[in-house]
Symmetry: C2
Amino acid sequence: MEIDTGRRGPFWDMLAGRTPPPPAAVLLGWELVAVDPERGTIEVAFEAGERFVNPVGVIQGGFLAAMLDDTLGPALVATLPEDQFAPTLDLHVQFLRPARPGRLVGRGRVVQRGREVCFLAGELIGADGRTVAVATATVKVQTVR
Amino acid sequence: MEIDTGRRGPFWDMLAGRTPPPPAAVLLGWELVAVDPERGTIEVAFEAGERFVNPVGVIQGGFLAAMLDDTLGPALVATLPEDQFAPTLDLHVQFLRPARPGRLVGRGRVVQRGREVCFLAGELIGADGRTVAVATATVKVQTVR
């Protein structure tokens, strides 16, 4: 997709290379597929490596939670001005089926945008097109310096 | 702590070195502090590295969720025989305060042990002794080959 390099804010500054990508996103192999800040929706992809697996060879649920946090959060952060960020207060994940190492697609959306508190939701989809996990999150918009 | 190297099961085989530690645990710097399978409690520690941080320099919430998943799960897995494992169905995390990179201690417990479905809870504690996040999880005991 084409990036609006003139747009400012933590999300856009990172995409345009003005700020480095956060280490957590790098570790998860985070990649933007599509974003619509007006609708509050985003699609991202992750590279779920072998190093995320649990003793039975599937991606440890917590890393799917980390990917979902990095899906839902950016749906909102893409809408924020330069001096704001939105820490997650609460994250709830349901693990529908095992996820194997490989590419996973995350779809996130802003369900309700409050002045401070926002409600987010999304899902993580495996290579076969089936949803592996769904999540909701509550985040709080904060002004940072 | 002293490890009961004679005890079998996925948790004890890993501690005794009969099976390799899962990559997800290695990545999180997972370390056992204490475990009481009779009471269904565990204390573990993690090394929350700089690579887990988000754009504002604190540990991305999802990685705290991954640590909590690797705290609550082992509280139960330590009680299971060799041929059983317990995938997480559902994980709910509340993020009480920001967590900086460094050592974090996880305390997990089995709240209710069903024949198949088990309810787990726990928390993650920062270097200053304050709780940074709390979690509950629902897991399902499965027989694996």
